[in-house]
Symmetry: C2
Subunit: 176 residues, 2 copies
């Protein structure tokens, strides 16, 4: 690689860190799935979703494609807006656990951000790793993950979810 | 400079571009000043303000000091919030025309952003340069600047300002 390309590559790498520092969003969601059971056959009732996303208006789409071409994983998707906003929103999203664990998380572990987002990222990475280890397949594990996400910026309080999970009495293991 | 420092410097430079691409704001304001007169003694009535700013919550203050130490101009100021928000806002601001013309504008001319902010920056730079040439000291020049700012993202419409400026009948030159 020539010296100039190498320079450009480092500046682009920095741009990615800075742009995500400003505009990125690391989020963990809990999706109700009534038929979800844990390894012992107990209903956990929830699936965990994990998403790294950057949202921009249509006129800044180029920035999202820069991210996609940098990480070489994820997609650019459209969030159509039917209200009176000027433009549709677009999102660069990485949801695949494998892409998060192999690409996104190692990148931001290596390249530190300067805002509060750094802390959000660390909690996000911790949750994805817990999910990868199967913690979300037990109620106690799910509660643990929910408690971590509660301390993330702009995440919903999870009292209600935790209350529901704690309130579950063991169901009869699924024999199906 | 060692190879490692050089690498870090390029990544930091990229971070600045990316963070401003996401969070920066280039804005031009019109401040009413009734006693302002142009070179011919006509009242223009307005002064032009120019500001490059990045706003963050208190917990992301480090990012603003990174910008300040990178550009070596500007200040970090506090916008206290007395409502029920979690934290005060802080802003890294560069308002001095000289610092804008000598540091900020050359930097972003050389280092392109990927979002719509790039266009905002170019219009902002054009306005600051027009002010530097004294265009704002005539009503026609002020109208020209106002028309440029109208096409910037999130800037106010300037119909009213332009109407006022156009509506002025020449005042008696100030003999004082």
């Amino acid at each position: 690689m020539g010296a100039e390309n190498q320079q450009e590559r480092l500046v682009k790498l920095g741009w990615v860190i800075g742009f995500v520092d400003g505009e990125g969003c690391f989020s963990i969601g809990f999706v109700r799935q009534n038929d979800r059971v844990d390894r012992k056959g107990y209903k956990t009732g929830y699936q965990v979703s994990h998403e790294f996303a950057v949202t921009q208006g249509a006129r800044s789409l180029e920035a999202l494609y820069e991210l996609k071409s940098f990480f070489k994983v994820g997609q650019v998707v459209i969030n159509r807006r039917h209200d009176n906003h000027k433009e549709h929103l677009h999102r660069y999203v990485v949801r695949s656990r494998r892409d998060l664990l192999e690409v996104v998380i190692p990148f931001f572990r290596k390249n530190r951000m300067y805002t509060l987002k750094q802390q959000d990222f660390e909690k996000f990475a911790q949750c994805v790793e817990l999910v990868n280890k199967g913690y979300h397949l037990t109620r106690e594990g799910l509660i643990g993950i929910a408690k971590i996400t509660e301390t993330m910026n702009r995440q919903k309080p999870r009292h209600e979810l935790i209350r529901i999970l704690r309130g579950h009495t063991p169901d009869i293991p699924d024999m199906g």
